[in-house]
Amino acid sequence: MASLETSSSAPKAPYSYPDKRGRYGAFGGRYVPETLMYPLEELEQAYVSACADPAFVARMDELRRDYIGRATPLYFARRLTEHLGGAKVYLKREDLCHTGAHKINNALGQVLLAERMNKKRIVAETGAGQHGVATATASALCGLECEVYMGTEDMARQSLNVFRMRLLGAKVTGVESGTKTLKDAINEAMRDWVTNVGDTHYVLGTVEGPHPYPVICRDFQSVIGKEMRAQLLEKENRSPDLLIACVGGGSNSAGLFFEFIEDDVRMIGVEAGGLGPETGKHAARFAGGVEGMLHGAMSYVLQDENGQIMGTHSVSAGLDYPSIGPEHAFWKQSGRVEYSYANDDEALDAFQLLSHLEGIIPALESAHAIAHACKVVPEMDKDQIVVVNLSGRGDKDVDQAARFILGDKGAGA
C-alpha cells in the first residue's frame, strides 16, 4: 500500500507489509461486523488517493510545520547520559508537538482524510486523553463536530485532559461499561461509528483495529523516525544503535521504528508491567498474552482461557490496553523487534529522574521507555547511540504522579 512518504534514501530490501488484505504475517486483517466493511474500504481508498494527491501531501506538510511545530528536536540528553555512564542518549522530543504528544501526527492526518471524505462528524476513543485532545484539536481546526469516548476511570485520572477536550469544543462521553478504560472507550466509539457511518469518521488513535487503521496510523507517525534519521546524521553523521519506545497500542514506537525496519538497528518496545506480570495486574501483552482477536485485528491479547478479554492495569492510562498493534505482533514473532516491560514503580522513578536531570517532565507512558533505557544504556559502550522516543509531556500526569509519589496527600502536600 502507498504511504505518505516525502523522501527515501538508499534503495531498501522490500518490506512489504501489510499485504492487500491488511495482514502482517498471521496478524492484522479486518474482523468487523458487516456494516463496517464498506466504510473501511472507503477509508482505504480515500487514504490511497490522498497519498497520491500532491495538494493533500502539501497541506499535511504545511500543517506539520506550522501547526504541529515539526520537525521536533532530537535532543542530546547530556546529564542523563553522564548519569547512566554508557551509550549516548538522545531524546526525540514528541513532547514538544502541539498538544503535547505524538498523537496529533495521526489525529490531524485522519481528520484531514475525514474532511476529504466529506464526513461531518468525528468520533474517537481516548485513554490518557492525549489522543482525545489531539482529535478535538484537529476537529476544531477543520470545523468538524467531535465526540470523544473515555472510560470513567480514565476521566478521573486524566481530568485535566477532559477539561482541555471540552475547551476545544468536543463532547466528552464517559464510558461506564467493562473496565471503564481504553478498551471500553474503543467499544463505545465503534458502536457510535457503526450507528452513524454515513456522516461520521472514527479516528482510531493507535496502530490497532481493522485494516487500514494500523497502516494509516503507522504512516502518519513514521515522520518521527524519518526526521530522526536526518537529524542524527547531521549531529553524529551516523545511524543509531538502539531505539527505545513505549508501546500502548504501538503508534509512537511504530513511528520511530518503521523508518529503520530494514536497517541493522536494534529496537526495543516497552510495555506496561503494572505491578509486575506475575501479579496479573499489568498490560504486558507479550509477557502474558496469547494470539487472539480484539477490535478488528488478529494480534496478541490478554485474555482468559475462554477468550474473554482481561482487565489490565498500568499507572499510565495510555498503556493500559489488553491488545497490541498487529504489526508489533509480527515484529515480535519474527524477532525483528525486542519487547520488554517496565513496572509502575520503575516508570515513576524514571518520571522523576528525567525531571531532575534534564528539566523535562515526561508523560508516564514515555517514562516507561526512559525506565528501560536506564536498564540497558549502562551496559552499552560510550561510543554507541541510543534514541528514546519521548512520546509526550507529563503535565497531564502531574496530579496522578503526585498521588503515587507523595501518597494520598497528593500534589497539595
Binding site: P33, E34, T35, K183, N187, R191, T195, N196, G307, Q308
Partner: protein, 272 residues
C-alpha cells in the same frame, strides 16, 4: 441434512416465515436460559439463536451488553454452553444456532469447536465480527463438520459482496436491517424490503431479517417479504426485567407468542 437448512426448507415449502428468537446463554443463569430455550420452542420458534456471552460485545446495544455481563458474572463460557446443548438434545430437536464473537471460538480452537458442535448437536454458528473475507479456513472447517454457517449482510453492504456472503452462508443469510448495534427500534426502515429483494437476486438462500424488531406489527410487516424474522433485544429485555421472578419462563413465553403469531400470519394473509 443440517437441521437449520431442513427447517428453512420445510417452511419455504409451506410459504411460512421462520420465527427466530435470540437469547443470551447464561442469562440469568445457564440452567434458566436452557429452560427459556425450551419455552421458546413451545411458543413456536423455528430456530433458536443462542448467544455466547462476551466481555467486549461491540456489535451489541446496551440490552444485550447487560445480558452478557449477567452471564459472565457466573463465568458462563463457550465450553459450558456446548456442554449444555448435549443435555438439551435429550429434550429437544429444535435447530440451534450459536451466535458468538470470534475470539471465544478462536480460544476454543475452531476445529475442536466445530467437532464438538457436531457431537453435541449444535447446528450452526454465526460469528458477528467475522466477515467472509476472513473466514476461509473457518468455513471449510465448519462445512467438514456439517455445521451451518450464517453470515450477515447490512444496508452498507455493496452489491459486489452480496454473492460472496450468500455463498458463505448456509441455513440462511442474516440481513441486518439497519446500520448500528442491536437494540429495540420503533420502526423498521422502509428500505429493508428492497434490500432483501436485492439479496434474493444473488442467491436462493433464505433471508432472515433482524436488528430492532420488537413488536408483533413489525414482525408481521417484515415476515411478508422475509424468510425469517429475528427478535433479540426485546426478548432479552423481557428476560432481564423478569430475571428474578419465579414466573420468568411463563412471562417470556407470553411475550413471544404474539410475535410468533404475527410472523406466521403474514404470508397466510397475503395469500388469502
Amino acid at each position: 441434512m443440517n437441521r437449520i437448512t431442513a427447517r428453512m426448507q420445510e417452511l419455504a415449502a409451506r410459504d411460512e416465515t421462520a420465527f427466530i428468537p435470540y437469547i443470551t446463554a447464561g442469562d440469568p443463569t445457564l440452567a434458566l436460559s436452557g429452560e427459556i430455550l425450551l419455552e421458546l420452542e413451545r411458543a413456536g420458534a423455528d430456530v433458536i439463536e443462542y448467544g455466547i456471552p462476551f466481555s467486549d460485545p461491540v456489535a451489541d446495544g446496551i440490552v444485550i451488553q447487560e445480558a452478557s455481563q449477567r452471564a459472565l458474572k457466573h463465568n458462563v463460557s463457550l465450553h459450558d454452553v456446548v456442554g449444555q446443548i448435549r443435555e438439551l438434545r435429550t429434550k429437544t430437536k429444535i435447530p440451534i444456532l450459536l451466535f458468538s464473537y470470534f475470539n471465544p471460538v478462536l480460544a476454543y480452537g475452531i476445529e475442536t469447536f466445530a467437532q464438538d458442535c457436531a457431537d453435541v448437536g449444535a447446528d450452526g454458528v454465526l460469528c458477528v465480527d467475522l466477515p467472509p473475507e476472513e473466514a476461509e479456513d473457518y468455513k471449510r472447517i465448519m462445512v467438514d463438520a456439517g455445521i451451518a454457517t450464517v453470515f450477515l449482510a447490512s444496508p452498507t453492504t455493496r452489491t459486489e459482496r452480496m454473492g460472496l456472503i450468500a455463498r458463505f452462508s448456509e441455513g440462511f443469510l442474516y440481513y441486518v436491517s439497519r446500520a448500528g448495534v442491536t437494540g429495540v427500534r420503533d420502526q423498521v426502515e422502509t428500505s429493508v424490503k428492497g434490500m432483501v429483494e436485492e439479496v434474493k437476486r444473488h442467491s436462493d438462500i433464505p433471508v432472515a431479517v433482524g436488528f430492532g424488531i420488537a413488536k408483533p406489527e413489525q414482525a408481521e410487516e417484515v415476515a411478508r417479504y422475509a424468510d425469517g424474522v429475528v427478535v433479540g433485544s426485546a426478548i432479552v429485555d423481557c428476560v432481564g426485567t423478569n430475571g428474578e421472578s419465579p414466573e420468568l419462563i411463563e412471562r417470556v413465553g407470553a411475550f413471544v407468542r404474539p410475535l410468533v403469531e404475527a410472523t406466521k400470519r403474514a404470508k397466510a394473509e397475503v395469500a388469502s
